[in-house]
Amino acid sequence: MINRTTAPRVNGELGFKFPELKTTSTSNGIKIISSFKPSAPLINFRLTIRKGSIYDLPELNGTSLLTTRMIDEGAGKYDSLELNQEISYLGTHLSINCDNENIYFSLTSLSEYFEQSLYLLSEIIKNPHFTQDDFDREKDTLLNSLKLVQAYPDFIAEDSFKKLMFGNNNYGIDIFGDLTTLSNITLQDIKDLYKNYYSPTDAIITVVGNIESKLLLDSIEKHFVGWINNSLNSFQPNLELTPTLPGTYFLNFPGSVQSEIRVGLLTPQIDLNNYPAILLNIIFGGDISSRLNQVLREKEGITYGAYSYFEIMQNISALLISTSVDLINSFKAINLIKQVIDDIRKNITEEELSYAKSKLINKLPLRFESILNLNSSINHLEIMGLGLDYYDNYTAKINSVSLNDVQNLASELFVKENFIFFLTGDKEKFFEINLNEEIFEVDSSGGIINSL
């Protein structure tokens, strides 16, 4: 008879190793990192350019995003529809997007169609058409897309919250820009951005899949050799932080049946070598078993989920909390979050730390199981400057973190008076406001318009 009263023991050690990586570069200066993974006849190719939307001119915010929408609308000998037909016929999946810091091209194809797919992608990057007709259509579509997403409470919450958190800093602006800046953009602005920012010296390529590195390098060299350095007249983004003062802020969103709650704290610059911070977040709000979710969902039942994460970028980092609750419990939720913040700065247990360490260490096999996951990790290591040997002593580095390390960081960071608490909801439907403090009503640009 099996003993069901205790968890079974682990069956041996796995001895997992991070997959072998090869690093090389093309003759025009693109760094290439690859890993041969023949388990499926698939290849994932990523090209990342380190010039995201923070490099948009302030009056033209949204240019980076619109350029990513434009760049595959015709290239080389193909017009927009012909190019799409060529890619689609191969069954290849191509996504092009950007965030605040980077522009991303990700191509996944069957091995047998990789060479042709890579040729088509290289044409997109080297020889985009940027015609007036395509520009007019894509700009109109993007403007409509922005109008569409502006009806989503979570989009509005994120957009306004970012402005409160980062002030005039370029990280406070959504990649869409706004309706005015998007409307300002001309075809020439797209061409200028492409000319200035889409440069091989600012690009890295990471590839994982069923292709040997020599063959891969030959293909990349062949297709990307004609991509030349551009003039690189880079706009210098405003990275000076002018955040709003800590406190509680509210954005009225009439008709809403839930409140979107965002809580944030600007932190000293954190990266993935800061293991106490990573472990602390797992304990605080990083997964379904963390304190935040246990209190707000499993104990109180007032949300579907409550989570936290460190927003880690090149020039800025912050601890962010996110949840959605029914209107009647909006302020109760904020009080509970404050309580969780207070509690964690006072007492973290050895058991919690042990859980967080085990989770991080044991997760490695799953984290690198698929070509997409593995390539995403490699790409992240490179663009965040973590080094490709990051995982070499990973287990030892995590195990070396002490309870004091994590507790000291929690005591330093988790001071509720330093956080910004933000909620959106229908003002008419709030039943009670019970925070014993002033609440500032803001508009969608983050400006204070009222005190409740």
């Binding site: 079974p8 023991r9 796995l14 069957l110 049946v257 859980y355 096999p365």
Partner: protein, 424 residues
Amino acid sequence: MKTLDIESSSHKLSNGLEVVLHKDSSVPVVAVNIWYKVGAANDKVGKTGYAHLFEHLMFQGSQNIPKEAHFRYIQEAGGSANGSTSRDRTNYYESLPSNQLELALWLESDRMGFLLEALSEEKLENQKSVVINERLEHYDNQPYGLVGEKLNSLLFPFGHPHHFPVIGYLDDIKKFSLEDAKRYFKNYYSPTNAILTVAGDIDYDNALNLIQNYFGDINNEMGIAEENFASLPKLEDYKYLEHFDKVNVPQIYFGWRTNKLFHEDEVDLHTLAFILSGNKNSLLTKKLVYDTQLCQRVSAQNDLSKYDGSFLISATPKNINDIEQIKKNIFEIIENLISSNGTLDKEIATAVNNFKFQFVHSIEKISTRADLLSSYKYYVDEPNWFLQDYERFNKVTTESVKRIAKKYLNKNFVELRVLPKNDK
């Protein structure tokens, strides 16, 4: 395609539990996947959302597992876990490093055999509140969030198993009692009503032994027989609905009833959807997004299940005044597709290449492969059906696509317009 020949072995325990095993040691990962043959289609009038709410209760602990410890055990072991509810089934799954297989079997078997011993009024009330918030967050507070609910209630008349939303109505969720939960568990959560798939870096004999040890002694207390959905209410005419929502941009939807999963028409329906909106050159996208530029996007897709299916076309107009013109264009394109003498060979070849990519991509991860093994076992009683599934697409022809379009995209359809509240 050799890649799609996924070897597996099938077994049945004496208590009726069906077991599928699949070995792949390319990465030290294992997936455990259980399908219970009950879903939202089994929900009753006044008791909608029960299948989904019960999925939540399955994570609230069992005789030997404390409340919410399921996730904690799995995550501590470096894994991930979750569940999902569809109309046809409720599934639960874990992915883990392969040396942790036994942990997942312990957790799954404890809730299959001994859930009720730990179920309480307090846990039930907590999860009812969580699910109500889930509904608010994902449906009621989302622009266009009620589209599926409204379309399906019209497409599938009262009495049809697709009539109700999977998440359920708020009033019904609030009424779910502890007695309901206990009855539900006894009726549906029995070994004979489940398929367990274990895939990945395993040894067949060892895995089967462990499964026998953990699941073999669970009593089979199956309460009721499978529902009879043989006679389903039909959509007899055209139905039109305007829904004024808190949106800035209108959307229009056209829905037709089709057929069930794995019906002989299924692959033609998928191909038809691709030909209409699968890429920029597809018929609807080219006409409405590129040529006339009346829409910012258009989409055609199938929603098929064990009992029935639907074909849906949706479009986002750039200008609310163009809706009638867009509708006219959509129906002209469908009519032309059906009546023209032209060939669709190029479009079909493109579609098949896309399906091929999706097949290969979907089986790369052990967890999705395990779910597909459970799926094939459930729907066609043969877990290794990947290749046959894919090869069905090679039989699609211009004639078969036109025949299907004519057969299903007829005058009996549902039209839904979601319009900005301010324009009311």
